[in-house]
């Protein structure tokens, strides 16, 4: 068999070549990106330490970390983090379920799209924060209105992502399914779902990012706990270190949850990403 295809057998093997750049190079790149913020942080630390600035409005990193440590020791930090995570998690879940269902219906069924999509697009044109007063009137000042606001923020990118992904599934590949006489359900499971997955994961990550944005808005509007409350409290009591501490923790949590989605999706997207494949080898 091999002998009758000398030309083909020599064809390139891209994956192996990608593997060639060494581990060192792979770790060096993110490190390079960390250089600037690290230098700035250290520089500012030095400026305050030398007494060139009192660092009251812009506290040096050491003071921010001291604030975090103090909050952690008193157990307050955990309480705030849990409150915020709970709101984001719940809002994200509702937003994803609604966005996925409606997006799938609109993408799969053109009658539903013509019926539904204009309304959804019109609602999308409203800046989501404009809902806040209404949500507070309808749902009260407590958890429900916050979760609803977050869910609204998550809903739109997921809806658009799912619908767009279904609409852009390659007709030629659907035809392959048809030639093998896949039933409607098998077509969804074996062709549509895998084809849609990459775009879906992206829309989940965008949705999560908006979820984090809206939890801050929700907690700034009125809360007795949560990281957003820490922000507001820091402003009212003039504690910039506490504000920056909350911002740092927002950044860490945002990155962490995004990473979780990425890791959870990675096994299903191996076919797409040469980098992950090489790492697994």
């Amino acid at each position: 068999m091999i002998s009758d295809a000398p030309v083909l057998q020599q064809a390139s093997e891209p994956a192996e070549n990608v593997a060639a750049p060494s581990r060192a190079a792979r770790y060096a790149r993110p490190l390079l990106g960390a250089l600037l913020p690290l230098a700035l942080a250290l520089g500012w630390e030095l400026v305050v330490w030398l007494g060139w600035s009192n660092g009251r409005l812009v506290p040096p990193p050491s003071r921010i970390f001291a604030t975090i440590a103090e909050l952690a020791r008193s157990g307050e930090l955990v309480r705030h983090i849990i409150a915020t995570l709970w709101r984001v998690g719940l809002g994200f879940a509702f937003g994803v379920v609604a966005g996925t269902l409606l997006g799938a219906v609109s993408g799969y069924w053109s009658l539903a799209r013509r019926l539904l999509d204009p309304t959804v697009q019109a609602l999308r044109a409203i800046p989501s924060l404009a809902w806040v007063p209404l949500f507070i009137l309808w749902l009260g000042i407590f958890e429900t209105s916050k979760v609803a606001l977050i869910a609204v923020g998550v809903f739109f990118p997921v809806y658009l992502g799912v619908m767009g992904a279904i609409l852009s599934v390659d007709r030629k590949i659907v035809e392959v399914g048809r030639t093998f006489r896949l039933s409607g359900f098998a077509m969804i499971r074996r062709i549509l779902l895998p084809a849609v997955l990459p775009a879906y994961v992206v829309s989940l990550r965008v949705g999560l990012g908006l979820g984090w944005m809206f939890v801050v808005a929700a907690e700034l509007i009125g809360a007795s706990e949560g990281l957003g409350y820490l922000l507001l409290d820091g402003q009212q009591l003039g504690k910039p270190a506490q504000i920056l501490a909350a911002i740092v923790i927002f950044a860490i949590l945002g990155k962490l949850t995004d990473w979780l989605i990425e890791v959870a999706a990675a096994p299903f997207l191996r076919w797409q990403d040469a980098f992950v494949r090489v790492k697994g080898a």
Partner: protein, 261 residues
């Protein structure tokens, strides 16, 4: 036997792509369909595959009318159309979902070896060259053992060297189970090297113009004088198919000068 009886197709936009195309194709025969671009070759193949319905006329396989994709009919397109999220092995086994896993695996392994890609079993489609990907597509279509295999310009996107290689390879695979092959091509060489019979189509509306039996034994020598003779007669027929002054099914001789593509 595959019977096409006055198959016509008019698209919703009013284009009459195919007009009263009739032909009978024996089980195990290799038929090449050749003709200028836009003369309805793909339309015809899609009607046989059951992917599109003919506006009128019938396609029957062993007395069974074909109006939707059929287990006994496989199709290979110009692009490999592999599913990028499945490994090469899983792509080949795609049409065998109904079989028990062990049997499926065995068939896939055999097919992989048969197309010379055993060591690529676990590769992703994006890691294959164009020729390798088309081999996988051929294996995927052949592994459920269709009675009829349709090929729509399957090698036209490949370089000349790879194309020849795959033509020989296709014949080799065909010899295993001898399905009926219907091959659309615009390559006269390809038609003469593969086919028992060449059907020449003419455009606007797409219809059958001429049939040429290729009475050559196999394997065929592309450089033999007889091969050249058959090539010339196919080319002549193609030229005449594009010459509007030549009426349908006319037997008068004389090579035309029209560029047939």
């Amino acid at each position: 036997m595959l019977a096409l009886d006055r198959v016509s197709k008019t698209y919703p936009n009013g284009v009459q792509a195919l007009a009263r195309f009739s032909a009978e194709i024996r089980q195990g025969e290799i038929v090449a369909i050749i003709g200028g671009s836009g003369c309805g070759k793909s339309t015809l193949l899609r009607a046989i595959a059951g992917l599109d319905r003919a506006s009128s006329g019938t396609v029957t396989l062993d007395n069974e009318a074909i109006s939707s994709p059929h287990a006994k009919i496989g199709i290979i397109f110009q692009e490999p159309r592999l599913l990028p999220w499945l490994s090469v092995a899983d792509n080949i086994g795609f049409g065998l979902a109904d079989l028990p896993a062990a049997e499926r695996r065995e068939k896939v392994v055999r097919a992989l070896e048969r197309v010379g890609l055993a060591e690529k079993a676990q590769a992703w489609p994006r890691e294959l060259s164009g020729g390798q990907a088309q081999r996988v597509a051929i294996a995927r279509a052949l592994v459920p053992q269709p009675e009829v295999l349709l090929l729509d310009e399957p090698f036209s996107a490949l370089d000349a060297f790879t194309r020849r290689d795959l033509q020989d390879h296709l014949l080799d695979l065909w010899a295993d189970t001898r399905p009926t092959l219907i091959l659309v091509t615009h390559d006269v060489d390809e038609a003469v090297v593969l086919a028992d019979r060449v059907l020449v189509m003419r455009p606007r509306p797409g219809r059958l113009f001429d049939q040429i039996e290729i009475n050559l034994g196999r394997p065929r020598d592309r450089n033999s004088p007889l091969f050249e003779t058959f090539k010339r007669s196919v080319l002549t027929s193609l030229d005449r198919s594009l010459d509007r002054s030549v009426p349908d099914r006319d037997a008068t001789q004389g090579p035309g000068q029209a560029m047939w593509w």
